[in-house]
Amino acid sequence: MVSLSAILAVTFCGICCKKYVEANISQKSRTTVKYTMKTLASSSETIIFMFLGISAVDTSKWTWDTALVLGTLFFILLFRAVGVVLQTYVLNRFRLIPLDRIDQVVMSYGGLRGAVAFALVILLDREKVKAKDYFVATTIVVVFFTVIVQGLTIKPLVTWLKVKRSDHHKPTLNEELHEHVALPPLTLFPSLKAFDHILAAVEDIVGHHGYHYWRDKWEQFDKKYLSQLLMRKSAYRLRDEIWDVYYKLNIRDAISFVDQGGHVLSAAKLALPSMPSRTSMSESSVTNLLRESGSGACLDLQVIDTVRSRRDKEDAAMHHVLRGSLYKPRRRYKASYSRHFISPDKQERQDKEIFRQNMKRRLETFKSTKHNVCSSKSKARLKEKGRKKAIPLLSQKNISLTKEAPNGKTHRNVPWQDAAPVLVMVSSEEEESDSSETEKEDDEGIVFVARATDEVLQGKTTPGSLDVCPSPCIIPPSPTLAEKELPWKGDQGDLAVYVSSETTKIVPVDMQKAWNQSISSLESIASPPGIESGPQHRRFACPVLEEQPQSASQAMPEQSSCFQFPSHVSKSGRSQSDSSPDGPEQQELQPLMATEEQGRMPPTAEPRWLMFNRASHL
């Protein structure tokens, strides 16, 4: 109608609408759509290239003009180079690592024109554009040239120029190499990675990347107006989808855990990220060192014991292991999107792990430094992208047991309601090894661990705006307790309990606050690394707990499916069933809450902070 390009219109439509569409449909639909689109894309590409090939031999479709063709070829190369140089000049003013000549050469050489150009030119209207045939001919030649000639030669060019590449086969390379060359000291590896992490951290402290300011602004605008318009209310329950994934992850963890017979660490059989690091330098730099230090290596050779062969193998193995397992520093930008592969988001698992460990360490520090302080608390662990670790769901069998437990021990209940969500540790039958915990009950189903000193309990006054994050994750246990991820008893079939086993920790009040804040802000990071989730995740984290001694049974889930944390303790009389219907509501409220400043705990706002109401799911 307006004679604008349909193709580009569709492209932009896809870009803009993706977020809303994804939010509005269920997870299964989303998956279906995703894979369907990929299939369609692949087949369309094939078709268009077929069409291109056919057009090339069908002389009725084009008219040859030598000058035009040659001129075009020459000029596209020229102007691409010019464009790259100009833009890199501008960009280099802002980059720490400037793009050097070689990068620019590769970038300009890598300009492949393909299907879109051809499609556009074929769609030209012959009436309006008399010279269409010339264009078609030219375009065909250009496409052929760039795809075939440039496409095929770019790889040799890159190797010839010794460009640093992100490498996937380095271990083998090393294994070959190290027979001739000394492996760089193992110290290098962690140090290099350490530097990356350090840099990332300091950048965050500094609040680097000012352009995020604009991004944040856009996100806010988007959240306030657009999202409300374009997304269903239930889209705010985006988290559900995430919980599903999380849930499945946990099931898998739990199963593997059980299979392993209780070895703690194996429970976290999360694949460590294997995405290329932010700068590929750290990985490839080792190989570069090898390459560049070719001469230096010879010296080393003389020093090497000839008996090193076995050690070399160990070395190689260690290198391999280390390289595979070191955490990658946070990526700022999502990796390139491939039409043919969908890579799972491993970064998030890494984040989750690291977060967990960090919190554990923090708690341990506090525990050691403030030994006698009295509050017990557990922290929610939140993943950056809003994945929330699901709250432990107790199976029915467990529930009944737990109910008994708290009732009998009032002093334990107090802290629980008192401030912190209690950590319920569910152990499987194989697990009953935690007898070190004196307060632990070795019930068959649930091990209720609440560690708090009595003084804490009694002496603790309501910390006013103390917010506790009853939500998920719980954090690190005392040294006596082994940290475990315990499988749940899936006897109900569809209920899973995941607990990161922990005990209540004693954490000072101010720490809690900061903690909550960090957790909540974690959630609401409008993360620079491409966010897929729609609405910001709001702080699940910070509900306000009012301490009121109440019977523990309230805290215990009544419903089989959900375990709702002490949050409802704060408001007496809330029953579990209440929270169920309210769950979605609450979740809707959450995004709104998000707009409040991070630093402030919403005062008593959400009585029931219950995060995850799985009832609807199960």
């Binding site: 962690p190 140090s191 350490a194 990356d196 500094v206 059989k269 720490m511 903690w515 802000s521």
Partner: protein, 174 residues
């Protein structure tokens, strides 16, 4: 050496981090930065900001630590040969990193300290024994004076080929 606009920018960042409005940052303020929670070395870096034993850092201290990360400029190599080295020299950068490893500040990275750092940076898939052996090998390779710990000089030697200047520099946007 640091431009005025950079200082202003950093100061505004400092104040935005400083929720308590008392002109100093405490550890909680740092921990509030979400990305640090998912950085394996986050806590240590936070500690690096705080001078020995204190819990608050003022803006000057904040700047001092951040100054380690300024990119090394060529003209700085010429001046100040006699005076104290600028904070962002290569050796100071390395020293900063060294201090992250070396918790007890005895100027040596012992096996335990190395193990701790490795454990922090590595996922849970590696067992403790493996990690221990990695640490052992690392120390073996780097250790030259045979004290089974890595001293600063050894650390520097190991990293001599690494472009530390670039890896530990942040271009503060103007």
């Amino acid at each position: 050496s640091v431009s005025h606009s950079q200082i202003t920018r950093l100061y505004s960042r400092f104040t935005s981090l400083d929720k308590g409005e008392n002109g100093t940052l405490s550890r909680e303020d740092f921990q509030r930065i979400p990305e640090l929670a998912i950085n394996p070395l986050g806590d240590r870096i936070i500690n690096a900001f705080f001078p020995e034993g204190e819990d608050q850092v003022n803006f000057r201290g904040f700047m001092r630590t951040l100054a380690h990360f300024r990119p090394i400029e060529d003209n700085e190599k010429n001046k100040d040969q006699n005076g104290p080295e600028p904070l962002n020299s290569r050796s100071n950068k390395l020293h900063f990193a060294f201090r992250l490893y070396d918790l007890d500040k005895d100027d040596k990275i012992s096996r335990d300290e190395l193990l701790q750092v490795l454990r922090m940076m590595v996922g849970v898939n590696i067992s403790d024994e493996q990690l221990g052996s990695i640490a052992d090998r690392t120390i073996q390779e780097a250790d030259q004076d045979g004290d089974s710990a890595i001293s600063f000089a050894e650390f520097v030697k190991v990293l001599e080929k690494v472009d530390v200047e670039q890896k530990m520099s942040i271009r503060f946007l103007h």
